[in-house]
Subunit: 244 residues, 2 copies
């Protein structure tokens, strides 16, 4: 009789329903004879991703690293999509971030965002795989709790605190994500970029062409710091209750 999706037989990997089902089913999953575990699959997948690139992340290749066939992986995960979701959450949770010491909420927000950015940049390979759907896994939840704690302690009301947290987190992930496929820019790539901007004059885009040098010089580190500083300036106007 239900017309919602609560009884959908197969929730999409990464969705709230999927994570919930996962908590419920959290059976210890009796040790298999062959010694293959979810942990080993995730480790193997991360290695494939880092060493061979995104295109190489196939069930067959991961299985190869574990000296078995692709079919064997299906005893531990239901699909390749699940593997990706679990891998992303796993990597997001890796940094045993030492608690952030700072007296000021602005400083704590900035350091938290920089920590996340630094961590993501160290794991560039997984960044393109991150979607909002995956940012509700256990690792993301732990990060949320910590940020929420200090924003509330600093006098923000819960609604504003959550909005600030979401905005900064999404901004940080997104900045890394949009730059991740460009990779580290070589001098040659930068000069190609300058040439491309300069060439736009031929299509009547004189301003883009005139400032080709500045566009080519644009650094995503700078953009991140600039945007983060602007956001935090903006948040001060929205503080509640005002510090008067």
């Amino acid at each position: 009789m239900s017309d919602n999706a609560d009884d959908d037989p197969a929730p999409a990997p990464g969705s709230a329903r999927w994570w919930l089902a996962r908590e419920t089913d959290a059976r210890p999953s009796r040790q298999r004879a062959d010694g293959i575990t979810l942990r080993r699959i995730l480790d193997a997948a991360l290695l494939v991703l880092q060493e061979e690139g995104a295109d190489a992340l196939t069930m067959r290749r991961v299985a190869e690293r574990l000296d078995t066939g692709a079919a064997s992986l299906y005893r531990h995960i239901a699909s390749r999509d699940e593997l990706v979701v679990l891998l992303v959450d796993d990597v997001i949770g890796l940094p045993k971030s030492n608690p952030i010491q700072a007296t000021d909420w602005r400083q704590r927000l900035i350091r938290t965002a920089r920590n996340l950015r630094g961590h993501l940049l160290q794991h560039r390979a997984v960044v393109p795989l991150i979607t909002a759907a995956q940012m509700i896994g256990p690792s993301s939840m732990r990060g949320r709790e910590a940020v929420l704690r200090y924003l509330l302690a600093d006098g923000f009301d819960p609604e504003t605190a959550i909005r600030i947290h979401m905005t900064v987190t999404h901004f940080t992930v997104a900045t890394v994500q949009l730059e991740s496929r460009l990779g580290a820019r070589t001098a040659s790539e930068r000069s190609q970029l300058r040439a491309l901007f300069a060439a736009q004059g031929e299509h009547g885009l004189s301003l883009v062409s005139d400032h080709a040098e500045l566009f080519a010089a644009h650094e995503s580190d700078t953009e991140f710091e600039f945007g983060l500083a602007a956001l935090i300036h903006g948040f001060e106007h929205l503080r509640d209750p005002p510090n008067a």
Copy 2:
């Protein structure tokens, strides 16, 4: 003797070198007998994407729409990657945006960003395919020229203007991108989300659990407007020369 990549035989689709090579080779590409053109391929691809989803965007399926075989597409594009890059730039360029009327740079920035967001939301299917690499195609370049024009006219120095443009554009695209895989949230999905947040109490995350309702209620429209307002507040502090 060159140790840079300028003579790399096959630049990656979407890279500056690739776009540059495309401008140079801009031969009119003599009409084929069968009437298949790049234009028709892009239109067919967009239809496949919108009607059948991301997984259906295969060379075979696009070719089917044009009553031919996959091999025939390779006379017009070099690879599937090229198709995706061209499709994304094509869609970004679609809106014949009527020039934005506003007296204030803040208002113009806000309307430009909202226009872009609205346009992307109307073409959700292509959003996950956007990367920074594609945002240097001809359509993006045209948008850049327009934004740059009014920021410079409003007294920003070129470096700041470019930074503001890049930050707002990336923020806007990224916000849509992170939410795009969640799709329109149904009441059921929202209640699942609330349940997931509420369940975090069992893992010691009491703040996340206590505010489950607020997290589940979080709207990406609100986040977008909140972040955009905060960014623009922040930009005012960085204006150069100051309006004194």
